[in-house]
Symmetry: D2
Subunit: 340 residues, 4 copies
Amino acid sequence: MIVNMSDSATAEQIEHIIQRIREAGFQPHVTRGTERTIVAAVGSGGRRHEIEALSVAPGVDNVVAIAQPFKLVSRQTRPHPSVVNVRGVKIGGPEVVVIAGPCSVESREQLLETAHGVKQAGATMLRGGAYKPRTSPYEFQGLGIEALKILREARELTGLPVVTEVMSTEDVDLICEYADMLQVGARNMQNFALLRRLATAKKPILLKRGPSASVKEWLLAAEYLLSGGNDQVALCERGIKTFETGMRNTFDLAAIALAKELSHLPVVADPSHGTGKQSLIGPVSRAAIAVGADAIIVEVHPCPERALSDGPQSLDLAQFERVMRSLSSPLRAVLTPARA
Amino acid sequence: MIVNMSDSATAEQIEHIIQRIREAGFQPHVTRGTERTIVAAVGSGGRRHEIEALSVAPGVDNVVAIAQPFKLVSRQTRPHPSVVNVRGVKIGGPEVVVIAGPCSVESREQLLETAHGVKQAGATMLRGGAYKPRTSPYEFQGLGIEALKILREARELTGLPVVTEVMSTEDVDLICEYADMLQVGARNMQNFALLRRLATAKKPILLKRGPSASVKEWLLAAEYLLSGGNDQVALCERGIKTFETGMRNTFDLAAIALAKELSHLPVVADPSHGTGKQSLIGPVSRAAIAVGADAIIVEVHPCPERALSDGPQSLDLAQFERVMRSLSSPLRAVLTPARA
Amino acid sequence: MIVNMSDSATAEQIEHIIQRIREAGFQPHVTRGTERTIVAAVGSGGRRHEIEALSVAPGVDNVVAIAQPFKLVSRQTRPHPSVVNVRGVKIGGPEVVVIAGPCSVESREQLLETAHGVKQAGATMLRGGAYKPRTSPYEFQGLGIEALKILREARELTGLPVVTEVMSTEDVDLICEYADMLQVGARNMQNFALLRRLATAKKPILLKRGPSASVKEWLLAAEYLLSGGNDQVALCERGIKTFETGMRNTFDLAAIALAKELSHLPVVADPSHGTGKQSLIGPVSRAAIAVGADAIIVEVHPCPERALSDGPQSLDLAQFERVMRSLSSPLRAVLTPARA
Amino acid sequence: MIVNMSDSATAEQIEHIIQRIREAGFQPHVTRGTERTIVAAVGSGGRRHEIEALSVAPGVDNVVAIAQPFKLVSRQTRPHPSVVNVRGVKIGGPEVVVIAGPCSVESREQLLETAHGVKQAGATMLRGGAYKPRTSPYEFQGLGIEALKILREARELTGLPVVTEVMSTEDVDLICEYADMLQVGARNMQNFALLRRLATAKKPILLKRGPSASVKEWLLAAEYLLSGGNDQVALCERGIKTFETGMRNTFDLAAIALAKELSHLPVVADPSHGTGKQSLIGPVSRAAIAVGADAIIVEVHPCPERALSDGPQSLDLAQFERVMRSLSSPLRAVLTPARA
């Protein structure tokens, strides 16, 4: 880290910073310019926050961090891509994984029809919400344990591993009994109590990027999981909040490439939340694969206009089949090498 | 709600929408234009999500919501401002409340020195973190229950009621024993499991606005608390995420005025997180009061450059005194009527 | 458009709105709900702004626009994709066009080396700045007319048509003499004086999206060109400003698909400005083609670390060749049908 | 500037950077850490862009700028606040200036009624658009020279100096004949051709912040004016674009305090565009003064619901009088010292 002294810093103030850098466990290294002096804090064993706080010490203009703050998720720590194994389905391997299913489990019939349909169209994992985070308390909140049982039944019938969202530390054990992968929703990306609890769970985690989380913050959220003992983590880009109102979110496809450059973790793309618009799911799914996503997760409902949640961005089964065909073998064959 | 048919919608498609609006519990009302037809869903007892999902029905261009989705927090429901009573300190009354204290409780000495100092300067409530949400798992995470005990001691010695953050449903009971007001942090604003639990707590809640939450989403988060039974809720604006990097956040002062126009709940302003810059705390605190904030919450530390968290935005005690003097009686006297 | 009356609107206020809608050239159509009344302004010949201004009339809650405000650029007006012909190179046709070249023309040698290099690698158009918009007045501002002459020479030698930016109405005639396509830079997207002047130019226009322009505003900027008489317009997505600082901009790839759904105009993708990062140009170029872009425009410099502008996001010639190979025939063959 | 080498940088790569820093006119200064090496470019006479471009040199991780890029607008260059004199009205002096008038000049009657009304209520300058930047080509574009003549007449009758927007270099001479201050609109903040032309105009400039411009970019736009010879520049904050849709823009009041900390230029606040909502103009105007604005500029129209532009955010004369009373002497007396 670098402490950038102001033009008018006195020798005494510079000396104070040198002293404080030593106290924080770093070696100070001074560069005196014609106009200003900078003091680097060198070494890896020191306490970063003590250097950050020096931005308010007398004579200091600002403090600049040089190294990335994450460690275990970094490509520098582990240069080869990680593979997350969800009951045999490998996210991060040579095949692009397709996860599909309804936003919410609404009934046994609705889920089973969807599960069979998406499997037939080529999906290899099933999604479905049991506990739903909803902006308004008056919206459908999910069927809870009843939905978990239906999901388990769907897995037994179709063989598709199941991912479902966990919203609370209190539900972790229960959901682990039923699901094969636990999703941390975008709005819980920095629910650190939940992350710490999931770090000790024995299931892989799908970690959605928060709607206003930078890639760095997203990787640091994953760092909570890895540093707590769970390295079966797939990141999921699902769009960020911007001024654009023509789509539900701004789908940050380039962030998928950036995350894969910075980290060894696999990345899943969620075109349904990323755009919020049925008609865009096809093109942005193709773009997600082209940019290097290891999987896509798509909302599918037998009758979107009757969905209890996320209808406007859900595909019906016929639409999903068409999207799948547009992603089919030749394209994936061509794109997969390009991803390597 | 209004269903806006596309130019090419057929009579059959329009009839289908009319039928679906009836099924959802509303009365349909059709307006045929020269180019397009719109169908309003009239009434208050229907299921809104069923109308929203019609955006993907054949022949529909989009669906527009007319009424606000929140109820109990609305000024239309309760026209007079609410007052939140925190152990006798009234947020939302004629006096502007000043809440001050360190980001984190770091030690008994640090907190007691701060508590006495801010009281002497005129603060009427004490803040201090026991459980800290931190972007990185390698940063200081708070002293936990030890901090709660120190906070209680500070309250006994100074008489200042205490507000501290709760990060997990599992900590609610414990924190209720020690603190007078529970803070929901910005990153937990849409942690709905936590909101539902706090709706049944017997303490007032300070609900921070999420860094990418619209005012509407913020009010809906409060609606979780009120609809669950807790109407002792103060909103807290603490800055939103934008492209501007010159400050930690963009402090949305106008949103304070907007929130007070839409809702009866009192609003607290947090200039420390709102700007992240010591030198701006004074001017933006004055602006917050001028725009109608009912309270301000300010980070104060005996030695910001040694703070374990948020040093760059913390005031030392002398700086806090100067800010308080700049807000003192004449200004507040003048501003308070203007707020009415 | 729909005028949404407040709950407490009086019969007199509603009558006033009905009257004003008639004055503005629309037919009023009233829907009385259980709680509130809405009045639609029906017809296409009226004055929209007069209805918008009613949002401040007594008893009005808000005014909601239903129809899109653009006309000539709309798919509803012209359902088939437009093709922009730049001296024989067709943007919007079955082939994906690749435009490449340096950010700025720095010297005859630099440009000619680049032009020959990108042509050999497969580019079909040449870019190069003569007049440069620079954030600081102390940065390199371009070689002006000297650069235009060099660009013309490069075209003569390579046959590649040339696109260059125009920053001022006063330069339009001059640049039209030398270049084959005129670029409106992102920061000038709403320079309406410039747009009006270019509407009468006899050259195709490359219209970059402003860094904070919604897709709707971008299409309305294009509407200035078409309504003024120039329908040879290609849109260009080059990234928007968001909170994310890990890349120069947030590259809004989904907006390419959205723009093509709303408009018949072809869309060019600029991965260089879209990400600002050399290492991401390859993956996001592939994604741009997959999502439906008709062309990509890429910054290439013989020695990026010596570039006078945009070095960090420029490819050198060897890197550009590698990117081109990754986009080459099989991929493009597969992707091109998918775009249809 | 600091060149941050990657962990794996070789001695040869570091040597190359040292050499390139010398070539760019700086002295290199090397700090070798335990994990990585940084090389500072020391001195003030070098070419910054050559260092920036090193971010793509082999072995380099990134390049960090330390010093601010602006000079003449900086407080470090000129520590005392500048005063902009508009025909005797001083922006930046001890008195808060109030500029008021319609968005557009629509007719002689409309403007004169407004001018007399705002003067009576206490405004000391008049605003009014003659050339209007409009998002859609189908909206009212201003009366042009006819409006300029009406503005001059209003000045003669009321004595209020006049500010009006200039959209094109071609209009500068004409507008200088009629107006006392020229406004650069938000969408033209980085129209560098226009800025360069205005740098040689003999009139003061009101420079609006672009909707996605950082404070740094805004100051660099002003730097174009000062470095070109015009130091009569007032900055104007008018809101930025964010995800929040409850108001037209997010009014960045804290940026006013930040701009005044970084620069000696006076800052004007525009609550009309800043919020887009009539009902919020009063509170945010008070906040703007409290945070340190030197002036406010407010849209006023005799009948907002009939305004040809910006009706929803315009005050009528009675509303403007009420806002003025709420800002009146006692408040301003108290606040003015606080601003010093």
